[in-house]
């Protein structure tokens, strides 16, 4: 059995990646000082929910939390995956918060994963489930992940504050990933997108589409944005609307942005701010989202800024071959990811700015992670 050595980490930062990398590298961790000085100290509901999700997908992992929730002990077990799992993601963060670590974890499980996730499908803080479908899943294929068994179905939509959304996610397992040389961001050949509305007029979707198209008009004729108006239980429990856009390039890159408008839960208690706050008008939402997409295209990376973390993770988890990728300006999350990868996997990237295109080129040798049924000593 032997004594477990714990890696000590301060604060709640990067909890998702820390749990993921700890699980993949079989490293036991102690996270301390979790919001110790905050008015609401300790782990937040979504972080507890994330731990429960890890427990569901893994066997024999040990999670210990102290009384105030400011200290967490995590000893990884065996990633098993499995069919027909169900998890309630809660309402403090959207399903998008859970998807990134879950997808990578599931790739290295014993059995393919299929899971029903309940909660908020669209939210301004995290990438929406639409973005995962249209930009994240195609990106996984680059790393040799089979398309068979890779799927995300949006059954019900749900926005803040009361959610009610449900998705079905299936992730296949891999023996190992395939290293990539992914340097050509290509030229944008078409823009696709989808708007949604729950418990509000479908007219808002047409307004968002109209104003987004107005921005793209002078650049590209091939723009198609679909609508997805939901009613009844498929619309979840709260009113909201939003848009997600994807630019597809000649080299097969998918650059995405999304945004959602809904009411927020009040700061104290469960009181809704519905009376006080005004929602952003649909016209502005379309325009802002389209502008954000052009901003991402301007950056010139092979992925958008929200996908930098996942891109670096996948590169680092590859066999011991060289991966080389191009991104735009490094995002704060991307930088944090690079540090977490260094801390857990010992993989350090060679990072060079490319002044002529104002992009950044990153190169690394993967840590050689293989999906084997490992015995924990």
């Amino acid at each position: 059995m032997g004594k477990t050595t714990y890696k000590r980490l301060p604060g709640s930062q990067s909890l998702r990646q820390r749990l993921l990398l700890a699980s993949l590298s079989s490293t036991a961790i102690i996270v301390e000082d979790i919001r110790s000085d905050s008015t609401w100290p300790g782990l937040l509901p979504h972080e507890v929910s994330l731990l429960r999700l890890f427990e569901k997908v893994c066997d024999d992992c040990v999670v210990e939390i102290n009384e105030t929730g400011t200290k967490l002990k995590y000893k990884p077990g065996i990633i098993v995956g499995g069919r027909n799992l169900v998890h309630d993601c809660g309402l403090s963060r959207s399903i998008g918060y859970f998807l990134e670590p879950l997808i990578v974890l599931a790739l290295f499980a014993k059995k393919p994963l299929s899971i029903r996730l309940k909660g908020i499908t669209n939210d301004p803080k995290d990438p929406s489930v639409d973005t995962f479908r249209s930009a994240t899943l195609p990106m996984l294929k680059r790393f040799g992940i089979p398309t068979e068994g890779l799927d995300l179905k949006i059954e019900n939509r749900g926005v803040a504050p009361f959610g009610g959304g449900e998705i079905l996610l299936s992730i296949p397992i891999v023996q190992c990933l395939t290293a990539v040389t992914w340097m050509d961001e290509g030229m944008v050949k078409r823009i696709r997108g989808v708007t949604f509305s729950t418990r509000v007029s479908v007219q808002l979707e047409n307004t968002m589409i109209h104003s987004a198209r107005g921005i793209f008009n002078r650049l590209l004729p091939d723009v198609h944005i679909f609508t997805d108006h939901r009613v009844g239980p498929q619309a979840g429990k709260s009113p909201g609307y939003g848009i997600s856009l994807v630019a597809e390039t000649t080299s097969g890159c998918f650059i995405s942005t999304d945004t959602t408008v809904s009411y927020r839960r009040g700061e104290e208690g469960g009181e809704m701010e519905e009376e006080k706050t005004e929602l952003v008008p649909a016209e502005d939402v379309g325009q802002q989202s389209a502008s954000a997409l052009l901003g991402e295209i301007e950056q010139g990376g092979v992925v958008d800024s929200a996908h930098q973390g996942l891109l670096f993770l996948l590169c680092a988890l590859c066999p011991q071959d060289v991966s080389k990728v191009r991104v735009g300006k490094l995002s704060p999350y991307g930088i944090e990811t690079l540090r977490n990868i260094r801390d857990f996997l010992g993989v350090k990237f060679i990072i060079k700015p490319d002044p002529s295109t104002e992009t950044v080129i990153l190169k690394c040798v993967g840590c050689g992670l293989k999906n084997l049924f490992r015995k924990i000593s």
Binding site: T5, Y6, K7, R8, L9, P10, G11, S12, Q13, S14, L15, R16, D33, R35, S38, Y97, E100, K125, D126, M183, E185, M187, V188, K189, I215, R218, L219, L220, P221, A290, S291, A292, L294, G295, I297, E298, G300, S305, A306, H307, G309, L310, L330, S331, P332, Y333, I335, L338, R339, R342, D343, G346, K348, F349, I350, I351, K352, P353, S356, V360
Partner: protein, 94 residues
């Protein structure tokens, strides 16, 4: 690039007290070695103060939006689209 790598990797070793150390480059260790003792300490403390250990875990980064309605802005990215100049687009990937 040395600077960019230093910005990303140079400082955090002190922040996260890892049990199994020894992943550091020989190069960066040498650099640390030749730093005056006091100075090194000061940097660590500044970094600790600057970085919130409980900052929100969020992959989305929303920068400021340009005014893409302006002709000038549109022209600046025209060649990133298939409707623009292909030779300029290809030049980017040399």
């Amino acid at each position: 690039h040395r600077n960019l790598m230093h910005v990303i990797y140079g400082t955090t070793a002190a922040v996260s007290t890892s049990v199994n150390e020894g992943q550091e480059d020989a190069d960066s260790e040498e650099e640390e070695f030749f730093k005056p003792k006091g100075e090194g300490r000061k940097n660590v403390r500044e970094d600790l103060a600057a970085e919130d250990i409980n900052r929100e875990d969020c992959s989305k980064f929303v920068g400021s939006l340009k005014k893409w309605e302006d002709e000038e802005a549109v022209e600046s990215i025209r060649d990133r689209f298939v409707t623009g100049d292909w030779s300029k687009g290809a030049f980017r990937n040399q």
